[in-house]
């Protein structure tokens, strides 16, 4: 619209990530090996961010890579694993050697820390962690009594991450973010993570017109009111899958998991895939068209790869 003062928020991954300071809390969207904002994760590693407190609800290669690259001091989530490929090997090494602290949640307490902030309250009641060591070791879970019934609850402390990073299918330049299909798979959690952040960076497969957004309003899972920056990053979840757009790059995931078995192997992987590569576009060149198309079209042979 001529004369519109709606700000444009389209920036490069480098610009978007450059404002994240060392020591920030950074929440990451996605689920195990699915739709994590990997282009932004790799850019954080490239810019050598340090001492981050990583938050999420169900995580995998995203947190494992950041931990392995020395970017994190703590991870706070319900799960970090490589799904059917096994344990998160960098996380294992760093936790077992005391370099990274863990704060454990159930899936729903992990969601509730974002949901509370999205609702504008500082905690939500939940019952899942009662009686377990989740309460013992997590300061963000405190036993309380209902003023109405006397029922015992765990209060889940709300968090307001300094930054949230998400990956989605499309957005306009103003930051209206959409997924191809509403209410499909894990789509229902990322919106809460997005609504909790002070700054929200969303990488997208495509940048589209606002008319396109308006033609499909049900698909908008974060309107521009919540979004700080949009980054155009096709295959930005690679090697994770991206809902109906492309599948897991099984060869790349296995290569990663093998490399992550040792600190040296992981260093070699990082050098090859992240630190020696200028940006996401150069990364796509490094993976190669054949590799990307294979990821997009190959039938899955990683059984149960969506399972938590």
């Amino acid at each position: 619209m001529p004369g519109s003062r709606i700000p444009e928020r389209l920036v490069t991954a480098s610009e978007a990530v450059s404002v994240i300071p060392d020591g920030a809390t950074v929440a990451i969207g996605g689920h195990t090996l699915r739709r994590h904002p990997m282009a932004l994760v790799r850019e954080i590693i490239r810019q050598r961010k340090r001492d981050l407190h990583l938050l999420g609800w169900n995580n995998g290669i995203d947190m494992d890579m950041l931990v392995g690259a020395g970017c994190a001091r703590a991870v706070e989530t319900s799960y970090v694993g490589m799904g059917p490929l096994g344990l998160a090997r960098n996380l294992r090494r760093h936790v077992e050697s005391g370099r990274v602290r863990t704060v454990d949640h159930s899936e729903t307490t992990a969601i509730d820390m974002f949901r509370a902030t999205a609702l504008g309250v500082d905690f939500l009641p939940n019952r899942t962690p009662l009686g377990t060591d989740l309460m013992t070791y997590n300061d963000g879970l405190v036993e309380i009594t209902s003023p109405f019934t006397g029922q015992t609850y765990a209060a889940v402390r709300g968090v307001e991450p300094d930054f949230v990073i998400l990956h989605a299918h499309c957005a306009d330049v103003h930051g209206n973010v959409q997924l191809d299909e509403a209410n499909w798979g894990d789509n229902t959690v990322d919106p809460f993570i997005g609504r909790a952040g002070k700054h929200v960076i969303v990488s997208v497969e495509e940048v589209v017109s606002t008319d396109h957004i308006r033609a499909n309003p049900r698909r908008t899972f974060l309107p521009r009111e919540y979004v700080t920056a949009v980054v155009h990053a096709p295959f930005g979840a690679h090697p994770c899958c991206c809902d109906a757009r492309y599948g897991y790059d099984q060869a790349e995931l296995r290569r990663y998991q093998e490399a992550a078995g040792t600190a040296e192997g992981f260093e070699d992987y990082l050098a090859d895939r992240v630190t020696s590569v200028a940006d996401h576009w150069a990364y796509l060149d490094r993976v190669g068209v054949a590799g990307l198309l294979t990821a997009a079209t190959a039938p899955s042979t990683i059984q149960g790869a969506d399972a938590a």
């Binding site: 077992e96 899936e107 009686g131 060591d133 229902t188």
Partner: protein, 263 residues
């Protein structure tokens, strides 16, 4: 193990069949992929045609023609009664609408408390595991749950190093005192036996031993003293019909049930 394979079925097959027998017709069952999903399909094909499978990804009650290869498999979405998302499926648990959940474990104690977080000390573990995922939510909120595990002294321990997922906590009344809504574990299915829980003590007791296994075999593989149920008997083996359905209809390619995946 070899004698049981020669007896006509594998460890995976008997664990699947015993798990399936816990599923009642009309149950809504919260499952992941793998053995529990196969067990739910078997129950549906045999004694429980009205069972509704509920997947964490939000798929409720699908009628797939062939077995799904992942929770997000499009095969699951066709003909489902509802598709939603993670939050919605977890809210069905919280709202008390799930009858049965089925879980795995890394460590388990006599009360059915499960550890999938850390072996050793929490902040400086000898092995860091993935954490709860949805397991804590399922065991806290489902009306009842079942644990499926391979039997060893490393897994069946006197005390879990970290209590990720609540069983009966410290015994009778402990779940209620803690404020947990679900009923807790009703059984533990292993490759050697099936445990129930003594109603008076909430401690695990051997309910049935699989064909070819002795009670002493179970004692030897269990890291705590365990009693036996008053009506201890041999696990009824998989029937020819159950094995035929598993092998020819549900998992003909051996995607989930490995023919030689022994202890």
């Amino acid at each position: 193990m070899s004698d049981r394979i020669s007896a006509g079925f594998t460890a995976d097959e008997i664990m699947t069949v015993v798990t399936a027998r816990h599923i009642a017709d009309g149950d809504t069952v919260f499952i992941g992929t793998g053995l529990p999903m196969v067990a739910a399909y078997l129950a549906k094909a045999t004694h429980a045609p009205g069972v509704a499978l509920m997947f964490e990804s939000g798929v409720l009650d699908p009628r797939p023609r062939s077995i799904a290869k992942a929770v997000g498999d499009p095969r699951l979405i066709s003909t489902a009664r509802r598709t939603s998302g993670m939050l919605d499926s977890l809210l069905m648990l919280h709202g008390g609408r799930v009858d049965l959940g089925v879980l795995g474990c890394a460590q388990i104690d006599r009360f059915g408390n499960v550890n999938t977080t850390a072996i050793g000390s929490y902040q400086r573990p000898s092995t860091r595991l993935p954490g709860s995922g949805g397991a804590n939510d399922i065991a806290s909120c489902a009306r009842r749950h079942l644990i499926v595990a391979r039997h060893s002294r490393r897994t069946f321990v006197e005390r879990v190093d970290y209590l990720t997922t609540p069983g009966h906590l410290t015994g009778p009344g402990a779940r209620e005192r803690a404020g947990l809504p679900g009923g807790g574990p009703v059984g533990v299915v292993t490759d050697l036996c099936e445990f129930g829980f003594d109603p008076a003590t909430r401690e695990m007791v051997i309910a049935t031993v699989h064909p070819g296994v002795t009670v002493d075999d179970v004692y030897a593989a269990t890291g705590f003293d365990v009693g036996t149920a008053p009506d201890l008997h041999e696990t009824p083996p998989p029937s020819a019909a159950e094995l035929d359905i598993l092998r020819t209809r549900i998992d003909p390619d051996g995607v989930y049930l490995k023919p030689n995946r022994n202890r």
